[in-house]
């Protein structure tokens, strides 16, 4: 296989792998798990031709460790997994966040907990992606809703991770990962790619965790004369451990602010359907595809429905959701879990708009009827 050109019928997982390669990823470490394994297979096949490396690690703990290590050596790196593997990655995800290591973790969600329904879709790792690793921390997570979007959001994930020096999670799901759809891969030269900032000071003046004006420290690679000390222990600007009063507060505050002061660069949403609606659907990923269909179905019943689709899940689009809540009669949150992102919607519900849940937990793409039932309830 070489890089597919022109219109292609492609699986979402393949689109993800090609997005990563086109974004400049040259290192993949992973452990096979359905429904994500095709990403590993494409990487094993393609990366060598790009001067890159594929390694199959002994488990997902090692996989995320290896991509963090490779990124610190200067390579754009990523891994892909599903629920059980994502659980194993949590401790080291925190290491990546704390050491500010750009990398991408793809979670093609399946039904859990435990082994659950190993080949069936869910969107039930939303809160895990936010809070799965211990301690206070920010995170970025994106949710693609089509094969084409899988490609673009993977590139975006790399760009954001390089811009902000943070692991970025692609929260895919089995439907988007394993659906075949038409896709056009653009000319890679036409893509806007972001690279981590290199230090501008000479090696002897370099402090690996001294932030620039955007609160992000310029990044040297292992092997550069600029010495990098990356520690998972509380550290100061030198990178060395530091237990003085105030250091932890300073570090955690900066890690939060470097993301939350720049949410306008990160948050992306799509508005679909009429401007004014009795009911607004809020959804993401595969569920949002069903929502688009339901907008038309509701219209047949004389109910005006629109959709706010979240491409960025974390940081949560507070402002966009608050605005949507203020403009509509009721909100239905459609997600393939027992109610996760709905908690965030309620958190920003300044207008006290009634919020209903359409919950798809049947191990299949959420049925339109489930969403329609919630809509009918909302307009009762």
């Amino acid at each position: 296989m070489s890089r597919p050109e022109g219109v292609q019928l492609m699986e979402g997982n393949h689109a993800c792998a090609w997005g990563a390669i086109d974004a400049g990823a040259r290192f993949y470490a992973g452990y096979p798990i359905t429904p994500s394994s095709e990403i590993a297979e494409v990487c094993a096949h393609e990366l060598p031709a790009y001067g890159g490396t594929y390694i199959q690690m002994e488990d997902e703990i090692g996989s995320i460790a290896a991509i963090i290590g490779a990124s610190l050596s200067g390579r754009k790196s990523f891994t892909a997994t599903s629920g059980p593997g994502f659980s194993l990655m949590q401790e080291n995800l925190g290491v990546g966040i704390y050491q500010e290591v750009p990398c991408v973790i793809v979670n093609i969600q399946r039904v859990g907990p435990a082994t659950g329904l190993a080949t069936q879709p869910a969107q039930a790792d939303v809160m895990q992606a936010r809070w799965g690793t211990h301690g206070d921390h920010p995170i970025i997570a994106l949710s693609p809703a089509s094969v084409q979007e899988m490609y673009y959001l993977t590139i975006r994930a790399f760009n954001l991770s390089e811009r902000f020096r943070i692991p970025v999670i692609i929260l895919g799901d089995q439907v988007i990962g394993q659906t075949y759809e038409n896709i056009i891969l653009p000319d890679p030269a036409s893509l806007d790619l972001v690279e981590r900032k290199k230090p501008l000071v000479p090696p002897e003046d370099f402090l690996p965790y001294q932030p620039d004006e955007n609160l992000v420290p310029p990044m040297a690679a292992y092997g550069d004369k600029h010495i990098v000390h990356a520690s998972s222990t509380c550290h100061c600007e030198t990178g060395y451990s530091n237990f003085k009063y105030g250091t932890n507060r300073q570090l955690l505050t900066r890690l939060k602010d470097k993301i939350y002061n720049y949410t306008d660069e990160i948050i992306e949403v799509e508005h679909f359907g009429p401007d004014d609606a009795e009911v607004t659907l809020i959804s993401y990923g595969a569920s949002s595809r069903v929502c688009k269909y339901v907008v038309g179905e509701a219209e047949k019943e004389g109910i005006r429905v629109n959709l706010l689709r979240l491409l960025t899940i974390w940081p949560f689009p507070d402002q966009e959701v608050r605005e949507a809540l203020g403009k509509t009669g009721a909100v239905v949150v459609a997600e393939m879990n027992q109610g996760q992102l709905i908690g965030e919607v309620n958190r920003v519900n300044a207008s006290n708009t009634p919020v209903h849940l359409a919950s798809g937990i049947d191990g299949e793409l959420i049925r339109p009827e489930i969403i329609m039932t919630s809509i009918r309830e909302a307009v009762k």
Binding site: G24, R26, F27, A29, L47, P48, A49, Y50, G51, G52, T53, I55, M57, E58, D59, I61, G62, A65, A66, I67, I68, G69, A70, S71, L72, S73, G74, R75, S77, E91, N92, V95, P203, A221, Y222, G223, D224, K225, H226, I227, V228, H229, A230, S231, S232, T233, G239, Y240, S241
Partner: protein
Amino acid sequence: MAVKLSYREYFKEDALPLMWCSGCGNGILLRAITDSLADLQIPPHQVVVSTGIGCWGKADDYMKTHAFHGSHGRALAFGTGIKLGNPDLHVIALMGDGDALAIGGNHFIHSARRNIDITAVVSNNFNYGMTGGQYSPTTPLSSKTTTSPIGVAEPAFDVCGLSEQCGANYVARTTAYHVTQMKRMITAAIQKKGFSVVEVLNTCPTHFGRRNIAGDPVSVMQYLKDITVNKSRYEKMDEEEKAKYLVTGELVNKDRPDFLSVYRELNPAASETGRGESK
């Protein structure tokens, strides 16, 4: 001619005093590693130490090379990515016995099998020092620790035997007492392409020592001398006598191709572009 590098180029003197207990052997290991790097004249920026979590895992605080300090047991997994990300680097993983063989045991055996070009320096002080002296996978059978008050019911791993069976290219055992030998082994291990393991039997007077030998550092050092015997003497012993000792010396020294060499041979395109510049 370039200025000759001394251990001071690798050792962060301004971080002294060491955080370790008096009588802890960790400082001896650290000096041996920095001396070896100086002997080999490897520029500090071409070295990454990947440390585990534990007393020995704190060693990066005193190093001026590139360093990575991650999570308990994962120094080799992080190190694998570091090495594959930039194959020109010398990656040295510093791990305690619990770090390398309990929580990190899986990465340890697979690193040896894969023959990734990393040097592992395992400080085996027969217990978990950092967390207060609990038993570890290398605690000798029936020894007393805080979690085996009567004596541990599990037999200990033979770290070197395990490394050999799993395929490491270089395997050696020494002790904190045998400083010259230690330095020689670490130097050889760093030069060896492929996975190399130097197991250093180490002192922990504060915990293992106090409960099983004596609390004073000299007795613990003497113990390391007493329980070990060098390879040439060991080989002449009968099985019954062998069982009383841990053998020291260079136990494996071979040249099985390392992971990256094999990977590049199978994927010639990967080697052409080296560090992964896009085509």
